[in-house]
Structure formats: structure tokens, C-alpha cells
């Protein structure tokens, strides 16, 4: 087991390296000039050249990638020029490890931009996760228990309908009608716990996480229903029934254990992917999380920030994969890794 975990982490780290190389090449080796995008509308040829030097874009792309990787582990400085540091230290932007680059458009290190946005995305992801796990799984179990009856049809039918609408339509409808027109909820604004306490934090998160959760609830109702029905058809359930176990014990212990194990896997992966930002939902509700930061970076050609967020997202996904696989062995006694 231990050897398996070590091997998975090792493979994960290698994969992250390869992905960082691919991402870096995708964005910085493209035929367009990355330095041209460093100063927005105020670009003068001199400024472009200055930025090119300061950010290291004048070097071959593989050298640039090497510096990027070095920066992640030991930090770096823009421009990396010891003489300038002595004469004019205020012109140098220092980027301590883990340095994911420097965004000239935002005049900030990518790491600090991500650190600022991450709590918002993580709050949103966890709130949505709680909602969809509670309602999705209980909905799925109810649908399975009443298979073919009204409750089942209503749940599965509405799940299918919700699942068919685009996320931004659901989000904007909630925003425009529930929050603004009917004023059923306060207009959602993210308030950190440190500023407004838990209450304000929760009420600010309600509509955006509901938007995110609705889509997932729809998916999880169908998923849970399918898994529960499948395990209800297993032979050992019939055996349990034949030996006279009460229905509650059969459902609660024997069926659920087998049915919920695969759901834990899917849920872990979904949460991992969501931690790096819900692009659409954050854009709809104007939440300055990682998703919004990514949209902003992508539309302003802020390449360093884009690369940074892509890598953080990939790291979340890879980590979630590893955790889920290891967890699987813990909750499912049939799985043995060697």
C-alpha cells in the first residue's frame, strides 16, 4: 500500500512536470510574440523590448522554461540582473518560491494573484460540494427506492431537465430573478469570514454555490440511482433478505456501502476539478475567484497568469486522482493495491 502511494505520487509529479512543459510551450512557443502582450494598449517598442528582457522572453523558450521551473523551487527576480539590483533595487520585482511567474499587466506575481483568488474558489467549491452531495445522493436513493413510481419519475425527470440548461443560463436566471427582481436573497457578494463573519460568508455564497450545485445534483441523482439499483440486484442482497435481515439493515448497510463507494470516486474527482475555479459561475456572479482570474487572464493575453492557473488546476486534478485512488482502497475492502 505504502509503495503504491509513493509510486502514484512519483508518477503524479512527473506528469505535472510534463504538463508544465507542454503548457509552457503551447503558450510561449506559439508564433505570436509573448512580449507584445505585456503592456496592453500602452505598448511602445521600447517598453516591449524592456519587458522582453525583464521577463526573459529574449532567451530560447526551453531556457525560459528552465528558469520558470527554477523559480517554482527557489524563487526568482524580474529582471534577473545583479548589477541593477545594486543600483536600483526598487525596479526589481522579486518573486519568492513558489514563483509561478510575474504578470506585467497586473504588476503582481502570479503566485500572489492566485493566493488572493483561491479562497473564493475553494469556498464556492466546498459549499457547492456539500449541497450536491446531500441533495444529489439523497435524491438518488429516494429515486432508487421508489423505482418506477411517481417520486422516481419526478426526481429523474427534473434532474434531466435541469441538466439540459446551460450553467450560465441557470446562474443568470437565479441572479436576475431571485436576487434582483424578487429580492428573495441578498445580492450575492463574496465576503471573507474575517470581514463579515460566517453568516455573511454563507449568505454571499448561497446563490453561486446553488447554481453550481444544481447541475451536479442533477448528475448525482442519476448516478446514485443507477449505482443503488445495481447493488440492489446483487446476489448478496438476496441472501441478506433470505436470511431475514430487516429491510432497513439491508438498505442501510449492505446496499449503500456498495453503491456509495463508486460515488466517492466521482465526487472526489469533481471536487478536485472545481477547486481551481468555476469559470462560468464566477463570471456570472462576478466573483473574483480563480475562474474569473483565468477568464480575465485569457482575454487580456496575460500569458504568465494563464499558465500559472492552468498548472494549479492540473495539480488539483492530479492530486484529486491520487487521493481518490488511495481512498478507494480504504473504503472498498475488495480493492488491494500492491
Amino acid at each position: 500500500m505504502f509503495a503504491y502511494v509513493v509510486r502514484r505520487i512519483f508518477v503524479g509529479v512527473i506528469m505535472l512536470f510534463v504538463m508544465s512543459l507542454v503548457t509552457y510551450l503551447l503558450f510561449f512557443a506559439a508564433p505570436s510574440d509573448p512580449a507584445r502582450y505585456t503592456c496592453g494598449k500602452n505598448c511602445s517598442p521600447e517598453l516591449i523590448e524592456q519587458n522582453r528582457k525583464a521577463l526573459g522572453y529574449d532567451k530560447p523558450v526551453l531556457v525560459q522554461y528552465g528558469e520558470f521551473v527554477k523559480g517554482v523551487f527557489v524563487g526568482r527576480e524580474f529582471p534577473d540582473d545583479p548589477e541593477l539590483k545594486k543600483s536600483a533595487p526598487e525596479t526589481i520585482a522579486s518573486c519568492p518560491a513558489p514563483c509561478l511567474g510575474y504578470s506585467p499587466l497586473q504588476s503582481a506575481t502570479v503566485t500572489s494573484l492566485i493566493a488572493e483568488a483561491a479562497p473564493i474558489s475553494i469556498s464556492l467549491a466546498f459549499m457547492a460540494f456539500l449541497m450536491w452531495m446531500v441533495f444529489g445522493i439523497s435524491g438518488g436513493i429516494i429515486a432508487a427506492l421508489y423505482k418506477g413510481r411517481f417520486a422516481d419519475r419526478a426526481l429523474v425527470g427534473s434532474a434531466l431537465v435541469v441538466y439540459s440548461f446551460p450553467t450560465f443560463f441557470i446562474g443568470l436566471s437565479l441572479y436576475i430573478f431571485v436576487a434582483i427582481k424578487w429580492q428573495l436573497t441578498p445580492i450575492p457578494v463574496y465576503t471573507p469570514i474575517s470581514e463579515g463573519g460566517v453568516g455573511a460568508w454563507l449568505s454571499g455564497l448561497f446563490l453561486p454555490s446553488l447554481t453550481l450545485a444544481l447541475i451536479y445534483i442533477a448528475g448525482y441523482i442519476r448516478l446514485t440511482r443507477a449505482f443503488v439499483l445495481e447493488s440492489m440486484g446483487e446476489d448478496y442482497i438476496r441472501t441478506a433478505r433470505a436470511k431475514g435481515l430487516p429491510q432497513r439493515q439491508i438498505m442501510g448497510k449492505h446496499t449503500m456501502r456498495a453503491a456509495l463507494t463508486p460515488i466517492a470516486t466521482v465526487a472526489g474527482l469533481d471536487l478536485g476539478a472545481l477547486l481551481a475555479g468555476a469559470i462560468i459561475t464566477e463570471t456570472v456572479f462576478n466573483y473574483n475567484g480563480l475562474g474569473k482570474l483565468a477568464v480575465q487572464a485569457a482575454t487580456t493575453y496575460d500569458l504568465p497568469t494563464t499558465v500559472g492557473i492552468v498548472l494549479v488546476a492540473a495539480a488539483f486534478i492530479i492530486t484529486a486522482n491520487i487521493i481518490v485512488d488511495v481512498l478507494y482502497a480504504v473504503i472498498d475492502p475488495r480493492v488491494k493495491y500492491s
Binding site: V161, S164, T167, L172, S173, I279, I280, A298
Partner: protein, 336 residues
């Protein structure tokens, strides 16, 4: 008699026929496709949604013809039908619905909503179908090669699959758009919407294939151990022949099911990307850019807000239900 013909006969249940000689009619051999069709016919919901899907495909094909004939008129402005004092809302309430404009007119421009939605279906379906084809072809080739050749090839392809799946998809589609649309334009595709459309199709395909490849690889791993593949190999069949004549015919069922399920995913993806500012832009209508435009009028012109969304939802729902129905019908484990 060729090998494929023989395979088909094995599949058609010749053995069953010889066993059941007492009552030929009752135990007539049926191919898996016949069984599937019979099961489909019994599934009313699937039949209905398949009808809707076929109807929308027909409409999508006819829409450009009708536009050329002047029956549909998606691009003419009707300033006389909108009120400049309300920010361009249709003059008669209810979204400007009339006999000439059954679904009303677009706020701000007065263009006919029905025409735009119908033509939007054409463009959205074209994007979704092209992306689906690319996804399925790439995924099938990768899955076949990985599963059949095994060893290092399998390892390499599987790692690439893991990697592509680890990229945050929406973000990549968004972030790559600026650069890649330039590249596509430089490659000779006309600038503007043609390049935008090609970009969407390409990236959806390029990020979508791994899921199909995984499924196909799994299927091929079990198929390649079967006797008919061994027989073909021992007769000296080339890899190409085994791929296309032996393995591929056995993969049609999952490909059909997942292809059907990709369509709604890509229709939704086109809409989401439109909202983020990537993709085909007005005046060319797609369901995505219509919906993106309509959400500006969510509170003031409810019918205009709802029609594009309902169209997307209906299409997505029907394709999804059709995919589910096909899966149930083609599943050999299902009751016969």
C-alpha cells in the same frame, strides 16, 4: 465467403436456430441489430425523442435553403418594430410576437427570432457534429491502437490520455483561443467567424478524444483475446485489416452511443464558450450567441430570454435521452 460475413452469421444466432427446430417461427435467429431495433421500438420515450432529434436535423439542413428562398429572414433589421425609447424593446408587448414573427423580434435590432433560432440550430449542430466526428475518429484510432498493440504504445497513449484529461478544459479552450484563431486564420481559413468556428470544432475535438479512446481501449483489450481475432491473425491478416474488418464492426455500438451523447455536450459547450466570448459571433446566429445576447433582456423581454434557452435545453435533453435509450437497446446484458 469472407471472414466478416462468417462473423456476422455467428452473431446472428445460427446456433439458436438449429437448436430450436420444433418451432421455427418463435425462435428465429435475430442479429444484435434486429434485437436492438425491437427493443428500441418498445421504448416509447426513446422513439419520441429520436423523432424530435431527426426533425431538428431535417430543420437544420433545410434552414439555409429556406433562408436562401426568403422564407426565413434572420438578418434583416426591423427598426419599425422596436421602440428606441425603451432601449429597443419590441413595440407591442409580449416580445413582438405576431403572425409575421411567430416567436417575436429581437430587442435592439428587430430581427426575426424564429429565423435566427432555426438557423442557430443549423450552425450549432454543424459545430457539434463536426466536433463529435473529430472526437470519435481520434478517440477510436487512439483506443484501437493502444488496446491492440499494447506494450509501450499502450503505455504512451494512456499517459497522453491521462495528461489531456488533467488539463482544465474550459480554461484551455478559452485561453488558447486568441493565439490559435490567429494561427487558423494564417493557415488560410477566412478571418472572423469561419476561423472562430474552426477553432471551436478543433479544440473540442482535441480535448474530447481521450474519453472515447479510454472506452474503445477497454473494449479492444477484451476483443483482441477473442477467437475471431486470433483466427484472422493466424490467417495472416494485416493489422489494418484486423482494425477495420474485425475490431471496428464490434465497436459500432459503443461509438454510436457515445457519439450521440457527445452531441448535447458539444451543443452546451458551444453555448458556454459563446458566453465567455469565444466562438461564432453575431450576425451569424448560433444557439450559444443567441442565448448570450438574450440574457441581457432577461428581466425586460422574457419571451426572448426563454426561447433560445428552451431550444438548447430541448435539443440537449432529446439527444441525451436518445443516447440513453440507444445504450439500453444495444446493451447485450439487457433483457432480450
Amino acid at each position: 465467403m469472407s471472414e466478416t460475413q462468417r462473423d456476422m452469421e455467428f452473431g446472428s444466432g445460427v446456433a439458436v436456430e438449429t437448436l430450436g427446430s420444433t418451432d421455427e417461427k418463435a425462435i428465429a435467429g435475430r442479429t444484435p441489430w434486429q434485437l436492438a431495433r425491437a427493443r428500441l421500438r418498445r421504448d416509447k420515450i426513446t422513439m419520441v425523442v429520436t423523432g424530435i432529434v431527426i426533425a431538428s436535423i431535417v430543420i437544420a439542413i433545410l434552414a439555409p435553403v429556406l433562408t436562401a428562398l426568403g422564407v426565413l429572414d434572420p438578418e434583416t433589421f426591423h427598426p419599425e418594430l422596436i421602440d428606441p425609447n425603451t432601449g429597443g424593446l419590441p413595440i407591442d408587448g409580449g416580445g413582438g410576437i405576431s403572425w409575421q414573427h411567430p416567436l417575436g423580434v429581437e430587442p435592439g435590432t428587430g430581427r426575426d427570432v424564429l429565423s435566427r433560432i432555426v438557423l442557430g440550430v443549423t450552425f450549432s449542430m454543424t459545430v457539434a457534429l463536426s466536433a463529435t466526428i473529430i472526437t470519435v475518429v481520434l478517440g477510436t484510432v487512439a483506443g484501437l491502437v493502444a488496446g491492440f498493440l499494447g506494450g509501450r504504445t499502450d503505455f504512451a497513449i494512456s499517459r497522453v490520455i491521462d495528461m489531456v484529461l488533467s488539463f482544465p478544459q474550459t480554461l484551455m479552450l478559452l485561453a488558447l483561443s486568441g493565439m490559435f484563431i490567429d494561427i487558423i486564420t494564417n493557415a488560410g481559413v477566412p478571418a472572423g467567424n469561419p476561423s472562430n468556428g474552426v477553432y471551436i470544432v478543433l479544440v473540442l475535438g482535441l480535448f474530447g478524444w481521450p474519453t472515447i479512446a479510454r472506452i474503445i481501449r477497454g473494449q479492444v483489450l477484451s476483443l483482441r483475446e477473442r477467437e475471431f481475432v486470433e483466427a484472422a491473425k493466424s490467417l495472416g491478416a494485416s493489422n489494418g485489416r484486423i482494425f477495420f474488418k474485425e475490431l471496428l464492426p464490434n465497436l459500432w455500438a459503443p461509438l454510436l452511443v457515445y457519439g450521440t451523447l457527445l452531441m448535447p455536450a458539444y451543443i452546451s459547450a458551444e453555448a458556454a464558450l459563446s458566453y465567455l466570448g469565444v466562438g461564432i459571433k453575431p450576425p451569424t446566429p448560433t444557439l450559444g450567441n443567441l442565448l448570450t445576447y438574450s440574457v441581457n433582456y432577461a428581466a425586460s423581454d422574457v419571451t426572448f430570454f426563454l426561447f433560445p434557452a428552451i431550444t438548447i435545453a430541448t435539443l440537449v435533453l432529446c439527444f441525451n435521452l436518445m443516447g440513453d435509450g440507444l445504450r439500453d437497446a444495444l446493451d447485450p446484458k439487457a433483457d432480450r
